[in-house]
Every structure is written in structure tokens, then in C-alpha cells.
Amino acid sequence: MKITNTGKQKDCLLITVEGRMDAVTTPEFEQTLGGWIDEGEIRFIVDFAGLDYISSAGLRGILTSVKRLKAMGGRIVLTALRGTVKEVFEISGFSTIIPIYESVEAALQEM
């Protein structure tokens, strides 16, 4: 898994996540994101265009971040889900509790 900070727009931190999010890599995602939150960032747009696979541990990692940010008055949105990742979000019903957009641009318009 590779997490990249691609810059800040409209007070939102843009992040891309590539590779696999499973029980092994998700703690890294939580730590990296936690680091940014500690630096004061509370609004995130996460681009999943490069994400190949997500397990239930990955879902939990995202859920943890969502709940944490919600308590701080911030939010996290996901964009550009594809393939099995998109399927997992649909099957698990996560797509109904986490905002998901087609693209980063679409997300930015809503923020």
C-alpha cells in the first residue's frame, strides 16, 4: 500500500491510496491519517482510483477514521472506487454510510 499527500484544495487534504488495504497495511493507513489529523487536518478527500483490494480490516480502518473525524467536526469522503473495492463497499452497505464520489473534482464541488 502507498499513501500520498497530493496537496490541499478548498481546505481539504487530498490523499491517494494505492495497492491493497488489508489487516497488514491498514494500521499504516490509520497512523498516517492520524498524523495528519494531529497536525490539524480534519477534512480529507481520499482517492481510491489506485486501490486494488480492501478487506474488512480496511473497512474498519476507514470506519474508525470516519468516526474519529466526525467527533472532531471534520469529515472524510472517498472518490473513484472501482472493481472489487466498489463491490465490497456496495455489498457491505458502507456506501450508504460513507460519502462516495465519482471523482475528486465531484467531491470538491460538494465540500
Binding site: 474488512s56 470506519l63 457491505s92 452497505g93
Partner: protein, 641 residues
């Protein structure tokens, strides 16, 4: 063989070998060069000595030659009377101690018409002068004949004079002439005798080392003087050479009699030692002087030097050997002690006392390192023992936990043997000792079978704890008359109440009417189960829009309806099945699962479940299982079956 020896041995061996090689080279070089220099000097000295000796003998002989020559002038100019001649001879012999005797021999009848032979002769005998007239036979001797024939003064070959002196001598004869009517007429010879003993004294006065000597040979090669008295007069160089078959001597003899000078190696016939021989002709007589130089005596200086160098080398070598042995020993002694001590460590005894090494060199550092290693090892083993004990404790607790967790699952195979309306089979394979997957089935009443499969996010102990709560809640909330959606809502509410670590569980709940096949179901974010129809079709069940349980407290879960016909099978699973991985990180996938399900659809449910598990195992080929795997199969037969 050598590599098994100790460092000290090798050190001593290699250094001393090098040392021997260096000493030998230096010694050899020194020996050769100094020998060449000394040989050159010896040759030069020898030549000088030969020349000096030749000159000395020559001057002695020249002094002798002067006597008859001076006499000649007197005799040629004066008319001679017998008395005058006799007195003259006496004076001459008396005044010249070097000569043994002197004679004046006149041609027959040259003295007077009536006297055939006139040859007065004075010689020494017993410290006195003795006078004789030599008889007429004397005129046939070489000393008279040869100068008469060759018309000049000559030295005779050495001869033994019986009549006059009874001794070995050589004679210098000067012919003299008188002019008679303008014609030169041979008148006779004037002679001076030298005793060979006198000559020998001169020659033997030359001291050449200890056993070196000089000798004279005549024109014919006859020995004139030689330390071996028996050779004198009796032998020639050539007769000796012939007798001993010595070609070298013959060659040297020829050169000497031809009047040449030279310097050549030679083996002494007396001692058999190596010598050099130097030779040069006398300028007075036609004799040749030879001098024998014994090599070993002349070379004794360099031999002594070499002995001294040898002795110093051997002494130095021995000192060096002792020093190296001491140094090597002092280096390897602590190493040996250390090595012996570490043997103990190697066998596992970490309480071995390491030797105290005070030096701060490499060995000292090594010993210190060993000590630290020993301490670290002790500490490490202590830690390891503690950790292992703790780990074993946890592991044993985990196995107990696993038993408890497995005990919470309904018993398979067929828990309801008296009911022939359906078959149910389930299996659960945790990735670790305990896991977060669950399955459940129970009768809500006589007709309704409730069944469920769930998957807690994550693995291990946290997931297992959440699973046990969920499992318990399903059983307690599955009250008669409730729909699957209502059960999910109820469970979700309880799970969401106290969930600080945001755990969640995906859960599928179905309720089957075991007589009619009517199926009510609801999914909380779980993978949709498959229905494998009796006619060979496979379909994924619809989604009901539910989210995993434990996230949103008041979420409303919807139920849906479908129906099973005879021999239809419903297959519930967790994502551990489709997401099982092989070594290439490929997933087992739902496509492969569907294919396997169709292939196995005619088998009993237990064999079907086994077939799927085998297929997963064959696919992953030993790649460690990363997620819990759960399968639940339910086949409907209905009233008619």
C-alpha cells in the same frame, strides 16, 4: 598436516625458514665474492713472489758469474805462469764464499808443449781450501765441452763431481781465447762451481705459507733443487710426470723448460692437497723456478672469516629462534586459554570463567568481546526463557479460548437426525487460534429454522471477543415470530451501545420454513449467499441494503423473501473463501467458487463443503491462510422428500 599446527609453530617455522634462506644467501654471496677477491690477490702475490725469487736467485748466480768473467780479463791480458794462475784461483775462491770452487782449464798443450793437461782447481773441503790438478778426463765433462762448442759462457747441468768435490754442483764456464797471428784461438775455460746445497739454501729460504715450497729445474727438466732430496739430479719433471701419469705436470714441465712463466692450479703430489703453481725462468741460466702454493693455507683467512660468519649466523639464528618462540608463545598462550574457555561456552556452559587478559592488544579486545558475548548470551537466554514461558502461557490460554469459541458453534454433522426435510452442514476454519467468523442455526419453532453466518472485521482475540458477543445475541434475539431484519436490528442495537473500538460484524440471517421452503432473509453488509438450484442454475441472493452491525445504532434492516424448491441448496460463506490467496497474490474469487459449487451440487452437503475446502487448499498451495473461512450449506427437501 601443517594446517593442524598451532600459530606459534607456524610462526617459528616460517620465520626461521626465511631466516635460513636469507643467511644462506648472504653467506654464499659473501663467500663467493670474497673468495674471488682473495684468489686474485693470491695470484698477484704469487706472481710477485715468483718474480722476486727469480730475481734473488738470478742476482746470486750473477754474482757467481762475475767471478770467472773478471778472471777472464786477467788471463787474456797477462802471460800466465803456473804459479800465478794457482795463486789467482786461490785468492778468488778464498774471497768469494758463495762459490764452492773454481778452475782454469787450458786446452791440451796450451800451457806448454810438454804438458798435455793443465787444469788447476781450488775448492772448499772441511772449511779449508784444497788444491788439485784436474786430470785429462775432465775435458770430456759438459762444463768444458759445451762452452768450447757454443763459444759462450754457460751453466752446466747439475752433476755429481766425484773426483774434485764429491758433491752435487753446477758449474759456470766461461771460454777464453787468445789472438794468435790475428786469429782467435780457443784457449780453455774458466769455471766457478756452486754447490747445489748452497742453491738449495737460497731457494728454501723462500717461505711460502707453511707447506709451500720452491724448486728449480734445469733446461732438461732435471730437478736442481727440491725439498725432496732424492729427486735432485735423479729425476726430471717429465720422468716424475710419466711415473705418476700426471698430464698437468707434464704440461707445466714443458712450459718451464721452454722458458715460459705462468700460474696454474695444481694438485700436490706429496700431500694430495689443492695448490697453485707459479713458475718463471731464470735469466742467468736456462733454469726455471717453480713455487707451489698450498691453497688451503693461503685461503685460511677467508676460511677463518667464513667460519666466523657461520658461527655468528648460527648464534643469531638460535637467538632469533628463542625470541620468536617466546613472542609466539606469549601471543598464543592467552589465545589458547581463551579457546579452551570458549569450548565450555560452545557446549552451553555460560558460567565458564574466562581467562584474565591484561594486554590491550587484539587478544585482549577479543577476550573482552568474549566476556561481553557471554554476558549478552546469558541475558538473552534469560529473556528468551521468560518470553517463551509467557508465550506458552498465552498459547495455552488461546487453545482453551479456541475450545470455548468452537463450543459456542452448533454441533455438526446433522444435529437434527430425525428431520428429513433438509440437510445442513457448516464448517469454520480460523486463520489463528481464535477468529471472528461465526455461524449459527436453531429452530425458532417447529417449522422455522433460523440460520446465520457472520464475519467480524479483523482477526484474533479482539475479533473473537466481538464474535462471542454477536453469537450470544443472535441466539437470544432469535425469538419466535421475528423477521431476519428485526433480529439484525435488535442485535445491532446491542452491539452499537458499547463499542469504543468501532468493531463491526457483517451478518446474514435467514429463516427457512422447513415444510414449504419459504425463505426470509436479511443481510448486514454480508456477502450475498448463493442458491444452487436443483436444475443446475446458480444465483447470488439479492442485497437487502443493510450495513455491518455495530456502526449505526438505530439502523433499520430490511428483510426480503424468496423460496426454495426440492433439492435447492443455499450456500453461505465469509470472504475468507473468495479472498483466499495463492503465492502469486491471486484471489480464489467468486467465479472459481461458483464453478466449484456447480460441480459439487449433486454431492451430499457435507461432501460439498469438504470439496470447497479442498479446492481452496489446492488453490492456495500452502500459502498461509490470512482470514477465517466459514461455510454453511443448507439443502431443502420439503414435505415430499
Amino acid at each position: 598436516m601443517l594446517k593442524n599446527r598451532g600459530i606459534a609453530f607456524k610462526l617459528v617455522l616460517f620465520i626461521l625458514f626465511s631466516e635460513i634462506a636469507i643467511f644462506t644467501f648472504i653467506f654464499g654471496y659473501n663467500y663467493l665474492v670474497s673468495r674471488r677477491i682473495i684468489e686474485k690477490n693470491i695470484e698477484q702475490n704469487a706472481r710477485n713472489l715468483v718474480m722476486a725469487t727469480v730475481n734473488r736467485i738470478d742476482s746470486a748466480l750473477r754474482a757467481v758469474e762475475k767471478i770467472p768473467k773478471n778472471l777472464l780479463y786477467i788471463l787474456e791480458d797477462l802471460p800466465l805462469t803456473g804459479v800465478e794462475v794457482k795463486d789467482l784461483l786461490r785468492t778468488v775462491v778464498e774471497n768469494n764464499p758463495d762459490i764452492y770452487g773454481a778452475a782454469i782449464a787450458l786446452e791440451p798443450y796450451a800451457y806448454s808443449k810438454d804438458k798435455l793437461c793443465f787444469a788447476p782447481y781450488y775448492c772448499r773441503s772441511g772449511g779449508k781450501l784444497k788444491f788439485t790438478y784436474l786430470d785429462c778426463d775432465s775435458y770430456t765433462w759438459d762444463w768444458y765441452r759445451i762452452p768450447k762448442e757454443v763459444n759462450h759462457a754457460v751453466w752446466s747441468e747439475p752433476y755429481y763431481d766425484e773426483g774434485a768435490g764429491n758433491r752435487m754442483m753446477s758449474t759456470f764456464s766461461v771460454p777464453f781465447y787468445k789472438s794468435v797471428k790475428g786469429k782467435k784461438r780457443f784457449m780453455g775455460v774458466i769455471t766457478a762451481d756452486i754447490s747445489l746445497t748452497w742453491l738449495k739454501k737460497i731457494v728454501s729460504s723462500i717461505k711460502i705459507a707453511q707447506t709451500g715450497y720452491g724448486f728449480l729445474i734445469s733446461k732438461n727438466g732435471r730437478f736442481v733443487t727440491h725439498p725432496q732430496t732424492n729427486l735432485i739430479m735423479n729425476e726430471t719433471v717429465f720422468s716424475v710426470a710419466k711415473a705418476t701419469n700426471n698430464i698437468n705436470l707434464q704440461k707445466i714441465g714443458r712450459e718451464m723448460t721452454e722458458g715460459k712463466s705462468g700460474f696454474a692450479p695444481f694438485t700436490s703430489m706429496r700431500t694430495g692437497k689443492k695448490c697453485w703453481i707459479g713458475y718463471a725462468p731464470l735469466s742467468t741460466s736456462n733454469w726455471s723456478l717453480g713455487i707451489l702454493f698450498p691453497q688451503d693455507e693461503l685461503m685460511s683467512d677467508i676460511t677463518d672469516l667464513n667460519h666466523a660468519v657461520w658461527a655468528l649466523s648460527v648464534g643469531g639464528f638460535l637467538i632469533l629462534m628463542v625470541v620468536i618462540i617466546i613472542i609466539a608463545g606469549s601471543i598464543t598462550r592467552p589465545l589458547r586459554a581463551l579457546s579452551k574457555a570458549t569450548e565450555g561456552i560452545a557446549t552451553g556452559d555460560l558460567d565458564v570463567e574466562l581467562p584474565q587478559i591484561r594486554s590491550q592488544d587484539e587478544v585482549g579486545v577479543l577476550a573482552e568481546s568474549f566476556k561481553q558475548m557471554e554476558d549478552s548470551l546469558k541475558q538473552y537466554i534469560k529473556d528468551l526463557t521468560e518470553t517463551t514461558a509467557a508465550k506458552e502461557r498465552i498459547e495455552s490460554e488461546l487453545y482453551v479460548a479456541r475450545d470455548i469459541q468452537m463450543g459456542m458453534l452448533p454441533t455438526v454433522p446433522p444435529p437434527f437426525p430425525d428431520i428429513a426435510l433438509f440437510d445442513i452442514y457448516a464448517t469454520l476454519e480460523p486463520a489463528r487460534e481464535v477468529g471472528g467468523d461465526l455461524y449459527n442455526f436453531f429452530f425458532m419453532d417447529d417449522d422455522h429454522l433460523c440460520f446465520a453466518v457472520g464475519d467480524v472485521a479483523g482477526k484474533g482475540v479482539p475479533a473473537a471477543l466481538f464474535m462471542t458477543v454477536t453469537q450470544t445475541l443472535i441466539k437470544t434475539k432469535g425469538i419466535k415470530g421475528l423477521s431476519p431484519g428485526e433480529i439484525l436490528e435488535s442485535v445491532n442495537k446491542d452491539l452499537s451501545l458499547e463499542n469504543p473500538s468501532f468493531m463491526f460484524v457483517t451478518l446474514f440471517v435467514g429463516i427457512l420454513h422447513i415444510r414449504t421452503g419459504a425463505l426470509q432473509f436479511s443481510s448486514g453488509g454480508h456477502n450475498p449467499p448463493y442458491i444452487i438450484r436443483a436444475d443446475g442454475k446458480i444465483e447470488a441472493m439479492e442485497l437487502t441494503g443493510g450495513i455491518p452491525l455495530g456502526i449505526v445504532e438505530d439502523f433499520s434492516y430490511q428483510s426480503k423473501m424468496t423460496g426454495l424448491k426440492k433439492d435447492d441448496t443455499i450456500f453461505l460463506y465469509t470472504d475468507g473463501v473468495t479472498e483466499a490467496m495463492n503465492e502469486k497474490h491471486e484471489l480464489f474469487s467468486s467465479a472459481r467458487l461458483e464453478e466449484d459449487l456447480l460441480g459439487l451440487k449433486d454431492k451430499p452437503v457435507e461432501q460439498m463443503a469438504g470439496g470447497i475446502m479442498e479446492s481452496i487448499e489446492a488453490f492456495s498451495r500452502g500459502t498461509p491462510q490470512t482470514d477465517d473461512i466459514t461455510i454453511l450449506l443448507l439443502r431443502f427437501y420439503g414435505e415430499a422428500g
